[in-house]
Amino acid sequence: MEQTIAPSEMLLHLGPQHAIQPGPYLLDLKLRGETVVDAELEMGYIHKGIEKILENKTYLQGITITDRICYLAALTNNEVFCNCVEKLVGIEPPQRSQYIRVIMEELSRIQSHLLGIGEFSTDLGFVTMFLYMIREREEVLSLIDMVTGSRITHSYLRFGGVREDLPEGFAEKAMSVLNDINKKLDEHEDLYNTDKIYLQRTVGVGVLTAKIASDLGVSGPPLRAAGVAFDIRKNEPYLVYNDLDFKVCTEKEGDIFARIKVRLDEIRESIYIIEQAFDQIPQGPLFPVGTPYGRRTPVMRVPAGEVFCRVEDPRGEMGMYMISDGSDKPYRVKIRGPVFPTMQALPPLIKGTYVADVAAIAASMDGCTSEADR
């Protein structure tokens, strides 16, 4: 961004502490009146050096660290890490574990989307909706809590399986909660679709077309809202997603309204996936039989090699590149988070909009600073 300011222009620093932010980042805006002329994003305020830390932890310790890459998608982060190690070692989790992973990851997707929609609503001044969304999110969190024992950072996955089996009666409880959410979601969506002010604020605002989105490397709901049906679960199926029936939710417009619509649809789709998973889940062991892998695998040497794995995070494509040199610690881990490109796409997207729309657009992209900074 040019630092020179014309007489009718003004430089506004949004951040590092500001209400629109899920975590600290600095958005430098150059304004002419209410219009954003130029924007620049500066980040790294919560850069923790996770990649370096992972190089110095054993593989089992690494699971705990991957929880904290993004606090809203701990399970998918676990998944991609375990996936890498499993591919390097050459094991595959048994069917039951895979189904449990699918169930838990979809639950995690639901809670993440609920928070995302809620935070977006509060940035439009729609505080009540935020509280409603969080209310429903708490129900999902208590389900996750029931299985993993924690609300946000679970460390639930293990190499070749999962830490605990599902508790008794989990399926019934989960389905009753999810059906409830499904019903409430219909109400909320009705509200979103009919509220005139909401429509004025969202329809046609912050349009990210498919061409631009793919140029900017965006993935996840912002890309799908632009009409590109790109979902790792379909394009490059992992776990048992091949056996499950679901559709990739897309919209055409690519504006804020479409992004929120995609998230709402995805919550429904996730509920549908969980329903199927509960029907199809087989009995059996949690860890591959005949291998030393189990709940506790303290010292584990991974054969030398390298692997790049991708899973579908609530926010898009989560990739991990792992190089092993045959020791008990990874030689290099590169985390490719979905938010990093999304955040990078924010400054070009908000150019030419109003200050009030900056908040709405930034929130509708559902950024997670922690993951972008790592």
Binding site: L216, E236, E306, E317, D373
Partner: protein, 158 residues
């Protein structure tokens, strides 16, 4: 789009620049690339092979070989093949041409690699630190011989 076809197309177009092509599985390919040819290879990938999504770009440090590798993971929105391109750079003075002109979102990845490994990207529009404060520039914390790592611990911890 088939993994073998992609490799074939690449090696035919760049016989001298693409080294050690390797088909790991039907959706994963890896290859070394000559560091001077990276922009041309990327252009070819984008224009003829539908690799329109730069998934990731990072550096890897090999102090015993005195090399820094820059790794590009190039994927596509339409087919599931991911190509891992690696370029070897001299560790003492790592320098490579930027691919921002082809993949726009390489911008931040390159800034990140610059501040963590010290890889200089020529023709980069705005090469400055992204994640670290300005005064940490030059420490290259993700290199294997970075000294500040285990020592800078909390005083009351073991």
């Amino acid at each position: 789009m088939n993994a073998n076809n992609i490799i074939k197309s690449l090696t035919e177009k760049f016989p001298n620049e693409i080294l050690e092509p390797n088909v790991e599985s039907n959706i994963r390919i890896s290859s070394y690339v000559d560091k001077d040819a990276i922009v041309n290879v990327c252009k070819h990938l984008l224009e003829t092979l539908e690799f329109d999504h730069l998934s990731c770009e990072c550096g890897v440090d090999y102090p015993d070989r005195n090399e820094i590798e820059v790794v590009y993971h190039i994927a596509s929105y339409s087919h599931p093949v991911v190509l891992t391109l690696k370029a070897k750079l001299d560790r003492d003075e790592p320098q490579i041409e930027s691919i921002v002109s082809i993949y726009w979102n390489a911008n931040w990845y390159e800034r990140e690699t610059y501040e963590l490994y010290g890889v200089k990207y020529t023709n980069h529009p705005d090469l400055k630190p992204l994640l670290l404060p300005e005064d940490m520039l030059g420490e290259w914390p993700l290199r294997k011989d970075y000294e500040g790592f285990p020592n800078k611990t909390a005083k009351n911890l073991v």
